[in-house]
Symmetry: D2
Subunit: 211 residues, 4 copies
Amino acid sequence: MNQQVDWKKFLIPYENAVEELKVKFKSIRSELRTIGEYSPIEFVTGRVKKVSSILEKAKKLDVEIDNIEEGIEDIAGIRIMCQFVEDIYTVVDYIRERDGNDLEIVYEKDYINNFKPSGYRSYHIVIRYPIQTAMGPKKILAEVQIRTLAMNFWGTIEHSLRYKYKHNIPEHINERLIKAADAAFMLDKEMSKIRHEIRQAQKMFEIKSNT
Amino acid sequence: MNQQVDWKKFLIPYENAVEELKVKFKSIRSELRTIGEYSPIEFVTGRVKKVSSILEKAKKLDVEIDNIEEGIEDIAGIRIMCQFVEDIYTVVDYIRERDGNDLEIVYEKDYINNFKPSGYRSYHIVIRYPIQTAMGPKKILAEVQIRTLAMNFWGTIEHSLRYKYKHNIPEHINERLIKAADAAFMLDKEMSKIRHEIRQAQKMFEIKSNT
Amino acid sequence: MNQQVDWKKFLIPYENAVEELKVKFKSIRSELRTIGEYSPIEFVTGRVKKVSSILEKAKKLDVEIDNIEEGIEDIAGIRIMCQFVEDIYTVVDYIRERDGNDLEIVYEKDYINNFKPSGYRSYHIVIRYPIQTAMGPKKILAEVQIRTLAMNFWGTIEHSLRYKYKHNIPEHINERLIKAADAAFMLDKEMSKIRHEIRQAQKMFEIKSNT
Amino acid sequence: MNQQVDWKKFLIPYENAVEELKVKFKSIRSELRTIGEYSPIEFVTGRVKKVSSILEKAKKLDVEIDNIEEGIEDIAGIRIMCQFVEDIYTVVDYIRERDGNDLEIVYEKDYINNFKPSGYRSYHIVIRYPIQTAMGPKKILAEVQIRTLAMNFWGTIEHSLRYKYKHNIPEHINERLIKAADAAFMLDKEMSKIRHEIRQAQKMFEIKSNT
């Protein structure tokens, strides 16, 4: 594939998909806030994978260049950040309800109940998303990652280390990373407990008010 | 309908539709520029009609408040600006190709070949657009106006005068407006002629090159 | 100068300046609309000149590469669009008032009262603008172009033709361009007359109201 | 002060200041990334305080309505998020270097080395910022908060609880909040250790390379 012209063309539907999906997920947040309800979405980011990273991943996964549209699922990537672990599942349900409407779910991976050995936690949904380009309609794959702010904090740093050390993170730094993953997990747990206690307090208050 | 809370809720799908449609039409432009082709779209704007204007229009058109979703077609409005009159029809064709995909065309009005007595020129397409809200999927009406920069310039000023004089524009100002509409029309015609001559020159050049 | 790394670094303060100046001029508009007053600014755009265009202009103007910061004044460019010709001078006055505050005026060029032989009309102000970079403070040159929508329409097309024909626009197209410039000028004149008549009508109305 | 018209006018320079300061701090990040250097700034947000919150704070601090410009320092608020605690001080130094250029530092408060009894950690800098409005130049107060992502996560939740319980957070929830603050603190500490070990490893590598 020609590096200069064709990659640009190849990435166009992915760029459009990222823009549209960002607008769509952000609007959930503004919508709920408009009607005075709690939003499980704190903020949304998106990116198209760099050509160098696509090529690197294709090599690693043994995907041929003619097959990257199907073989690499995260060329278009959307990341949704939540305050509480419970919010993640609310967002997942929300996406499931749209399955067959403006997107199709290909598969889901729950790295929250089954976190990776590295300590990585996040919920991934790979979707197929229809896009209209100047060259006609097309369906592309996109990956939606849903995570708490604490998971994201840890994930961002782990990613930059993995990149820096070209996937050979030294043992003593790896140990630190796992300790940090524990601290992030603890933080999420404490936050959920706070949330739970507030809910309980609200219910008790409502029961009292009704008697 | 409750002025405070319900209007906000009522307008949510329209706001989402405007955001999504702006992203979609803008991406056509960036797409074509990316592959080095001419874009018939110069720029795109969008707006949701103000509650006061919705109520005013409902009264004027004798639309009951329970029927404004169907009775008022431009609560969500998209405006696409083109450089040349010919570009307008390219954009119209482009929207027609999407009919049945991510939008449905309800009807079209060609105020360019049949301009209004006021001098107003523009191409209108009313579409039905599917939107996913936190409360589920929904289809809403939206109006897409396609026009040249000169038409837009004139239209903007005519609109603000109509607003200022509450639809009773004095005769001498009306005459001026019609003169200005003529000047705008002349400008578009000269621009199209330039475009045509360039095309001819290019064809002659290509014929020469091939012989 | 190294094409890859140094140009990127060189352009950073210009990119920052364009972002800041866009925010500043746009805020005038939202400010005036907030307090219910007419805004002489319709919209604002900005761009940093492409490296290829900088090099081309440096060659044409015989500016040495070490002197482009001073020799090329429009690396950072801001364009302010107005509805009426009169608005342009309101914006000019507004910028003059800021001279010595957050910007310095280097010189002004009035291509509206003295339009170029090509038919080009626009008001240019070259400013010196202080910018804070991660490498410390710096003052850069920027060009602010103020024009009506009709001037802009014509200017955009003339620019793309000049680019297409590499500054050798054929005579018959040139003639068309001048006719189009006349039509644009006529349009602006009609618009100004409308504006003037409205003002007169308002004054008469106010006099009547006070007696 | 008239609720409807004057508050809008009063808040204009604060809105402009927030927009300008967001652009300025965001550009530091893009600038450093452009030249391939680490950015101590992860992301930047900003907001103008709501009228209801200004009035509430004025009452609490016993500030008279004519004195809120001087008496309430966070009507314009900027928040800068960092990955590591160390980054916060890099950002602080950066702001100090601009003191007297495009902003003036009024005072600083280090709630990181001296965190509040609630568990709140953050670095605050109150600045005086010059702004150009359509009504002329003006200097306003703004508060810049600099914090890690973990501090921000905790702070966001504490703020919404404080708001929900109208400053009377129940004891058992308060205990949870302090535990969560500890977890956030631990997370930051582990992250800093990772950073430190990487730096050490880099230095050793450089020493080896030089011998």
